[in-house]
């Protein structure tokens, strides 16, 4: 069974509290925008392969807040080494969530390596994410949304989503403004 991506993102951020969210280039950025704008979203219109590491830098800088990177399988595959880097650094406030549909939605639904047999759960476990969960249904999704409020070890989740391509919902794309409003929302020095 697979989940609908927009509903999955909406469920994860519905009662987000202090959660800081970094989506990946492409569909997860549109999913997060569709769930409702927030200055504590740092939408990525580029930087493919970098979402998880942006999350790590942010998590280390803000140890009292939880950070969720929510990205796609293609974006994660481009930054696979970052799972090893995060696994070694072990930030207790960083969750890496991969919406896995086995295709590159942004470029025309070409198959990704996860469809070809690469298991991102196994990769994350091998990299030291002790807390790794495989989300396939609404019960699992609710469980993950709850854990985003309480986790204290690096968390990895694979969310199996339908390979569809819902209409794009485009957020702000001025990078400087995205950066400045994010920092202002956190109250960090200008």
């Amino acid at each position: 069974m697979s989940l609908e991506r927009r509903a999955a993102m909406a469920a994860l951020v519905a009662n987000r509290g202090d959660l800081l969210v970094v989506p990946g280039l492409g569909s997860t950025t549109w999913d997060l925008a569709a769930a409702g704008d927030d200055p504590r979203n740092f939408y990525l219109w580029g930087a493919m392969g970098g979402a998880a590491m942006i999350g790590l830098g942010l998590a280390l800088a803000q140890p009292d807040k939880r950070v969720a990177v929510v990205t796609g399988d293609g974006e994660m595959l481009m930054g696979l080494g970052s799972l090893a880097t995060i696994g070694v650094k072990r930030p207790g406030n960083l969750a890496v969530i991969v919406f896995d549909n086995g295709v590159y939605g942004e470029t025309g639904m070409q198959p990704s390596h996860t469809q070809g047999g690469v298991d991102l759960m196994a990769v994350a476990s091998a990299c030291g994410f002790v807390d790794a969960c495989d989300v396939r249904d609404d019960v699992g999704l609710e469980d993950l949304a709850g854990r985003l409020k309480t986790f204290t070890e690096p968390l990895f989740a694979r969310v199996r989503i339908v390979a569809d391509d819902p209409p794009r919902v485009l957020p702000l794309r001025d990078g400087v403004e995205l950066k400045n409003r994010f920092r202002a929302a956190l109250g960090v020095e200008a």
Binding site: L20, V22, F42, W45, G46, A47, M48, G49, G50, A51, A52, M53, I54, G55, L56, G57, L58, A59, L60, A61, Q62, G79, G81, S82, A84, T85, V88, K89, G175, V176, L178, K179, F182, R183, L186, V188, E189
Partner: protein
């Protein structure tokens, strides 16, 4: 202490004065002493990377959260960063880079030359401000200017630490 081992300590002092809290690196012989100093410092998160471009993304995330970061790499590592530096240019993230040079002076390994020889123009194409230190006395001044440019202007600044400064790699024992 000889001049050849003093410059990493001067760089470390500059990073501390600048309030740098995250230091990312791929292990590098030229940076080994500075990396050791950072690893021993409880106020600095040292982050070992699998590839240098991870460090660019890390530094962006650090700045989003209010931390200053520095990236330590070898000249070859710059090549791994190019596309990710678009993140810094688009969003104007501070990017403070210390690059140990290979392939430019008494280099034994010709495979280091292609990337080493284009570090300066590539950085300039990426809109980075480039500073060079060829001897110990130039290190601190170059580093201070890079710190100001990176964090004051939210731009990319790179200090090239020349192979003459670092010393020749010994290939036979």
């Amino acid at each position: 202490m000889s001049a050849s081992v003093e410059w990493p300590d001067r760089l470390y002092a500059t990073l501390k004065r600048a309030g740098v809290r995250q230091v990312a690196y791929v292990p590098d012989a030229g940076h080994s002493r500075l990396i050791e100093r950072c690893r021993a410092d409880n106020d600095i998160h040292d982050v070992a990377l699998t590839t240098e471009e991870e460090g660019v993304a890390l530094a962006a995330g650090a700045w989003l959260g209010g931390d200053r970061a520095a990236l330590l790499m070898q000249s070859s590592g710059l090549g791994n960063c190019i596309n990710m530096l678009s993140l810094a240019r688009t969003c104007r993230f501070p990017m403070l880079m210390f690059i140990t040079m290979r392939g430019e002076w008494e280099e034994f390994n010709p495979w280091q030359v292609p990337m080493g020889s284009i570090v300066d123009p590539v950085l300039k194409l990426c809109e980075a401000e480039v500073y060079r230190a060829s001897n110990t006395d130039e290190v601190e001044g170059a580093a201070e200017r890079a710190v100001q440019h990176a964090f004051g202007d939210e731009r990319i600044a790179a200090v090239l630490l020349s192979q003459q400064l670092i010393g020749k790699k010994v290939w036979t024992k």
